[in-house]
């Protein structure tokens, strides 16, 4: 029944856009917004049962496993409906609605200003943050089916998207220099790092601990992007920073289930580099790397005793990937990605707690795109970053579990021609 709203939405859309044309003298169908749809499916073979795989954790990272598109057998991942049009001479409108098996998600819904002077533009509404290289990309632009480990661990399955505003400035130079300033409400969905929402924890010993919502807007970000090219070689660099409060369920050290981690100021930093070697119209080699680091000072609240401990956390990680579009018609791509979660340190009341660090994953993919509107992708992951939680006398212990995934993904798009960013 969760699909019911999705079906209703589709019906409304289809009747709205089926009208117009014909003999209606008042038809304004020429003014209909552009509508495009992207469907995504996958077929997965995973070395461990779905229940086990989705219960695995990255200890110390505050995040839940993201298993989108990776459950054994066939997966319907999403139907993305994109609507866009100019509102008037002053605003452009964009919306990206993702219909997924568990409901409808308005991924983005915003207006962009068209007329601001001196290279400024404002984006208002619900939007992906410009943080990092991948965060603002919709899933169908990714080079792999799944996000890199650093994104999964720090940013979550859905990317950092929230209600807010972005001011962008493009410098009047012959190379790219762009600065983004963002402010968000602070309650991005499914985000393990940032959440301004208050909480109430009912500890097993009967005591209640609660905290109110953080003052909003609570989440602030800035990023700078620059790019140079020389002949067929193009480099794109970016640095980003984001800060806001954290409320998360935690698996912190010798604590029991139901523990919380709260911080009124967590920092997330990112640095990314992309290099492309363009070989004619259809061939290219793209290397991309991104480093993320999170620093947070906060408090854990034990789910059993409601005992509070002050905690300093530092986590970091990176991914490096290479994608080569190699055939004369530009239909085939092959790629490899190396992921690693590096630092994973927590000090509890001054004492250091060692979580497992240096957690790797290795991925490879082969892609065939008959046209730019359809794509078949085969991906293999060898994942050594996951741990099972073993509860020994309320003392948490983590066991590393290898995970292998073979994924076959089918993506197709209809509607107006989508343009590509770099």
């Amino acid at each position: 029944m969760r699909l019911l709203p999705a079906i209703l939405f589709l019906l409304v859309c289809s009747t709205a856009f089926a009208q117009g044309g014909g003999g209606n003298p008042f038809s304004q169908s020429a003014l209909n917004p552009q509508l495009s749809a992207i469907g995504d499916f996958s077929l997965a073979n995973v070395s461990r049962a779905d229940d086990a795989a989705s219960a695995f954790v990255f200890p110390g990272f505050l995040s839940d496993a993201v298993r989108d598109g990776k459950e054994r057998g066939f997966n319907f991942n999403f139907l993305e409906l994109d609507l866009s049009a100019s509102v008037d001479p002053y605003f452009d409108f964009f919306s990206f609605i993702s219909i997924e098996p568990d409901g409808i998600d308005v991924e983005e819904l915003y207006v962009n200003t068209r007329q601001l002077p001196w290279g400024f533009a404002l984006r208002l509404g619900k939007l992906f943050s410009a943080f990092g290289r991948l965060n603002s990309q919709h899933k169908h632009f990714w080079d792999f089916l799944d996000p890199p480990l650093v994104y999964e661990a720090f940013i979550g399955a859905e990317g950092i998207k929230d209600v807010g505003a972005r001011l962008s400035w493009t410098a009047p130079f012959d190379f790219l220099l762009q600065v983004h300033l963002e402010v968000f409400q602070g309650k991005p969905e499914g985000n393990p790092t940032f959440d301004a929402e208050g909480f109430t924890l009912a500890a097993e010993n009967g005591s209640l601990v609660s905290a109110p919502d953080a003052a909003v807007p609570a989440l602030f970000a800035t990023s700078v992007k620059t790019s140079f090219d020389s002949g067929d070689h193009v480099v794109l660099l970016g640095v980003s920073a984001m800060t806001g409060p954290t409320t998360a369920t935690a698996l912190e050290g010798p604590a029991s289930t139901g523990s919380m981690y709260v911080s009124d100021r967590t920092w997330l930093y990112g640095a990314d580099v992309t290099y492309k070697w363009l070989m004619g119209s259809y061939r290219s080699l793209a290397l991309q790397a991104e480093f993320l680091r999170r620093q947070s000072e906060g408090t854990t609240i034990d789910g059993r005793s409601a005992e509070k401990n002050s905690v300093d956390k530092v986590n970091s990680g990176l991914y490096v990937q290479a994608v080569w579009r190699f055939d004369p018609n530009g239909r085939w791509r092959v790629g490899a990605r190396y992921d690693i979660l590096l630092e994973n340190e927590s000090s509890h009341n001054g004492g250091r707690f060692a979580f497992p660090a240096d957690l790797p994953r290795y991925s490879g993919m082969l892609e065939f795109s008959p046209t730019e509107f359809s794509r078949l992708r085969l991906q293999y992951n060898y994942d050594r970053s996951r741990f099972a939680v073993v509860d020994v006398a309320a003392l948490k212990r983590f066991d590393q579990k290898d995970l292998q995934e073979i994924l076959l993904q089918l993506t197709f798009a209809v509607g107006p021609h989508g343009a590509h960013s770099f």
Partner: protein, 316 residues
């Protein structure tokens, strides 16, 4: 009280500031005016042929940046981020239109934050609006391949379209820089006269191939063949943007064997193998034609583009 008589009291600090401000303003405005007089119109264009036309009309008075590389596929230009910076500074953006740039220009313009050259702005020029397009599909559906709903976008290859494009470019330049309107018009008229002379020669030259037929790789040279009176017998691609298949190649050879095919024409960016195979089976040449100024050696400007196109047509 001071005992010293002061005929002209020394300037107070405030007076110095005022004087300084006046001098600074004068210097700066002189520099600014001199710079403005020297400033050339900044023009970004999508393709090299547009650059050539801008240079014909503007002479050295425009600073032109081209997005696409001459020999590469005009449909799939990689949107380099530096283009965003160039569009940010542009007074004019002149594009081909008819969806040829649909895959790379929209995000560039959106990120450039320059209302002057965004759609609806005074400096945004879509050349396809100045000519009549051929090959407008009766049915727009992607099962027909990568079709352009507006019609075939490669209209520059009809030499009779070129003066219309030059005129649109002159009008755009004049609106961006009204002080040089007369210069632009003078150069436009000179260009038109020269073009009339050259195209009269081309018309005569092309007459020898009237009634013949050609095979092309992609629907790239339809305007050129229409102007030269050559019928398009087939495309090596089964559908626009779809790579050739063995079955389609057999079909082409079957259906065109009895026609007087002059050559199989391909371009600089598609794989030549299949086109060469078809040409060999039909016993004709496989010829690479430039689709844009500079796509092959010696086709560097808009005149050389047409000279090269005609020179490369076989003689019999």
């Amino acid at each position: 009280m001071s005992e010293v008589e002061r005929r002209s009291p020394p300037a107070t600090e405030k007076e110095y500031r005022v004087r300084y401000a006046i001098v600074a303003t004068t210097v700066f405005s002189t520099i600014a005016l001199a710079w403005a007089a020297e400033a050339r119109v900044k023009v970004v264009v999508s393709y090299p042929y547009i650059e050539s036309l801008v240079k014909e009309v503007a002479g050295g008075e425009a600073e032109v940046t081209v997005l696409a590389k001459a020999g590469e596929d005009p449909h799939v230009v990689v949107p380099r981020p530096s283009f965003i910076g160039k569009l940010r500074q542009a007074d004019l953006f002149i594009m081909n239109g008819a969806s040829l740039e649909i895959g790379f220009v929209p995000p560039l313009l959106q990120q450039a934050n320059n209302p002057k050259v965004s759609p609806g702005g005074r400096g945004f020029v879509d050349l396809s609006q100045s000519v009549d397009l051929m090959g407008k599909p009766a049915k727009v559906d992607r099962s027909e391949g990568d079709v352009h709903p507006e019609g075939n976008p490669h209209f520059v290859l009809d030499w009779r379209n070129v003066p219309k494009l030059a005129k649109a470019i002159a009008a755009a330049l004049a609106s961006a820089d009204p002080s040089k309107k007369e210069d632009y018009e003078r150069r436009l008229h000179a260009f038109e006269a020269k073009w009339r002379d050259r195209s009269a020669v081309w018309e005569k030259d092309a007459a020898r191939l009237h009634g013949r037929a050609a095979i092309q790789y992609h629907r790239l040279f339809n305007y050129f063949f229409a102007r030269t009176g050559i019928a398009v017998a087939a495309e090596v691609e089964p559908k626009p943007g779809i790579p050739p298949t063995g079955r389609h190649v057999e079909e082409i050879i079957e259906t065109t064997r009895d026609q007087k095919i002059i050559a199989v024409f391909t371009d600089t960016y598609h794989d030549r193998k299949t086109a060469e195979g078809v040409a060999k089976k039909l016993g004709v040449a496989c010829v690479t034609l430039p689709h844009d100024a500079g796509a092959v050696d010696g086709s560097g400007d808009i005149f050389a583009l047409f000279e090269t196109l005609l020179k490369r047509l076989p003689n019999d």
